[in-house]
């Protein structure tokens, strides 16, 4: 198993228990592992939550971390995957002064070329939204930054894996 540090996506299926966030984040904290991003949401199964956690660690570390996560009573199953094994994306929003839309025609081109969506426009500001890979979002931010950005926010990574994670089967098995 590789000792090289990689970006790994840890997927955790859990019971719908928010107190669990503490337990899971403590596992990283104790080992001084910085969480690059963490997203939780409903999963494909009713009442089962999914955490998507991005970290830069070795596979050896990841295997141990996943073991510790799975040990938590309310965790159903945890996995780790590298970037080749997942399809992933992030999304972001920009709030920008509306004047700029007219004063800086270049902005309209940027919006078009980057496939960015306009969420809303009013007299004072307009809001853009885009999802994509980190470098695409970063490039867009740099381009728009020239004109001035009132607010910028980027979400954590969300990811689905190429391989199956047979949670439904697993849950069915436990039931029997």
């Amino acid at each position: 198993m590789s000792e090289e540090i990689k970006t790994l996506t840890i997927s955790v299926y859990t019971e719908n228990n928010i107190g669990l966030l503490n337990r899971i984040s403590a596992i990283f904290q104790r080992r001084h592992i910085n969480i690059e991003s963490l997203t939780t949401s409903q999963s494909e199964i009713e009442n089962v939550n999914r955490f998507v956690i991005v970290v830069n660690i070795t596979e050896i570390q990841a295997k141990k971390i996943v073991g510790q996560i799975e040990k938590q009573v309310e965790v159903i199953k945890a996995y780790y995957h590298d970037d080749h094994e997942t399809i992933y994306t992030e999304s972001c929003m920009f709030k920008i002064k509306s004047d700029l839309l007219f004063d800086e025609p270049q902005i309209q081109n940027i919006i078009k070329e980057s496939n960015t969506r306009i969420v809303t426009v009013n007299r004072e500001f307009f809001v853009l939204e885009k999802s994509g890979r980190r470098h695409e979002i970063e490039a867009l931010r740099k381009e728009l930054n020239v004109f001035g950005i009132m607010q910028f926010v980027r979400s954590g990574r969300i990811a689905v894996t190429k391989d199956e994670m047979k949670i439904t089967e697993l849950l069915a098995q436990i039931k029997n």
């Binding site: 019971e15 107190g19 104790r30 295997k63 141990k64 799975e70 040990k71 009573v73 309310e74």
Partner: protein, 587 residues
Amino acid sequence: MRMQKVKSYKMNTETMETNKTAATKTERITGCEAIIRCLIEEGVDILYGYPGGAIMPVYDELFKYQGKIHHVLTRHEQGAAHAAQGYARISGKVGVAMATSGPGATNLVTGIADAQIDSTPLVCITGQVPSHLLGSDAFQETDIVGISTPVTKWNHQVTKAEDIPVVLAKAFYIARSGRPGPVLIDITKDAQFQEFDFSYKKCTGIRSYTPAPKVNIESLKTAAELINNAKKPLIVWGQGVILGEAEEELKAVIEKSGVPAAWTILGASAIPTSHPLNVGMVGMHGNYAPNKLTNECDVLIAIGMRFDDRVTGDLNTYAKQAKVIHFDIDPAEIDKNVKTDVAVLGDCKESLGLLLKELNANSHEDWHQEFKDLYEIEYEKVIKSDLLPEKEGLTMGEVLKEINIQTKGNAAIVSDVGQHQMIACRYAEFNKTKSNITSGGLGTMGFALPAAIGAKMAKPEREVVAIIGDGGYQMNIQELGTIFQQEVPVKIVVLNNEFLGMVRQWQQLFFDKRYASTEMTNPDFVTIAKGYHIDAKRVVKREELADAVQEMIASKSSYFLEVCVEKEDNVFPMIPSGASVSDIRLS
């Protein structure tokens, strides 16, 4: 904010396979009465605790249920937690501790952390401020669920009476199943007062939780083959064998395979000390032979142990020559510290039972001779002067030897933390399992006195001897009050070296004898014990020792024995921290 917090600890009752059958008949009672009823349903006969505002309704019910369940008032909540641990360790049952909110709850934390690292089944119940005050910094409000999260197997806050039976059923199930551990349930005062329709059903499963993985027959066969072909196999067993009640299975495996077997501190007593295949203790102050030969064996078979750093020393030089087989119930332990070649997951009672069938009979005589030879060296250089000293001062070892003689190795030894603990683990003779009760993973000074109370109350028929240092004794000395009030006939031995001896030993060896804050001016321990109406004696001379120990063991009531031992003795052998097991020192 408050609302969110309440919600955040709310559990999803749908996911539990318990309390689903509505057929059980219900009864309208209050939350606090329900708590007691749940404890009784779980077979709890004794619990340890300390009252206060937020838990008072429960104490009021305890008053009504006197005779059905026995509450022991300790003198400190830490004492309650350790007493519950002692109860659990000697009986294998879940220990129960109870405390009020705020300081009561935080005082439990050390015991909970100790139970977590030593896999002790505990259910701790804490009172909490009424739910409408949560998050308001109310009087004696503390976020004990947050505080205890990293040191509990599971915890949960209850804000509605109707959740009490389901949550407590789950608490007991989680605490005792799989790899056991502590669970904390925090119950708001309003939930204690609420009335609801009570019914109880034990928890038998939680879908997200697999207590024990199934034994994989393939890996078991691979393990057996490795053991059968080994020339120099070595077993190191840990507490998993005791927790899994697999003592007989382990004994059968050892006897059939002829494999020398060593133990970790928490594994002590699973196989009798006198068993010919028992080759002693591994680890920092363990025996010379099993430590040295860890780096000579060709197959290392770890059973229900977790390769703690106090056992392995430097991992880069630990058993590198050996194929490693690891039997454990907890998948997270596999490859955590030592890379295994074969992992056999599952309950070791089952896996060892299956392993036995696959093993060839063997005796490994030459290999055993190596253990005997190294034992002789250890005997000459260390053991002889520990047990049969020629110098004037008393040694801790000879006190243990005397206790062995008087108890015939049938006592449960509850030790605290320090030099006396290492001496107790090295020299106590054990005929019966669950007899070495000590704080292993956390090394909690103050553990022994309250733990001995719990142990003796759980198993009144057993002789329980606490071996405590003069330092650790003073960390929970207030529990003499509990011993007196409850008339618990524990035997307390304080090995007084007027030092925080273990720390002093390190100062001597690694800090050029700079004894910073390790010397103690101690009170008159005998007078203190007598103040609690406990029979007490002090021994300063060798001639007095045997009689005093005999008198103590013969006593039907609690007894305190202070033995003034040599002040600056050291415990050897020793693997300096971070060194290799091969570099174990005899002096």
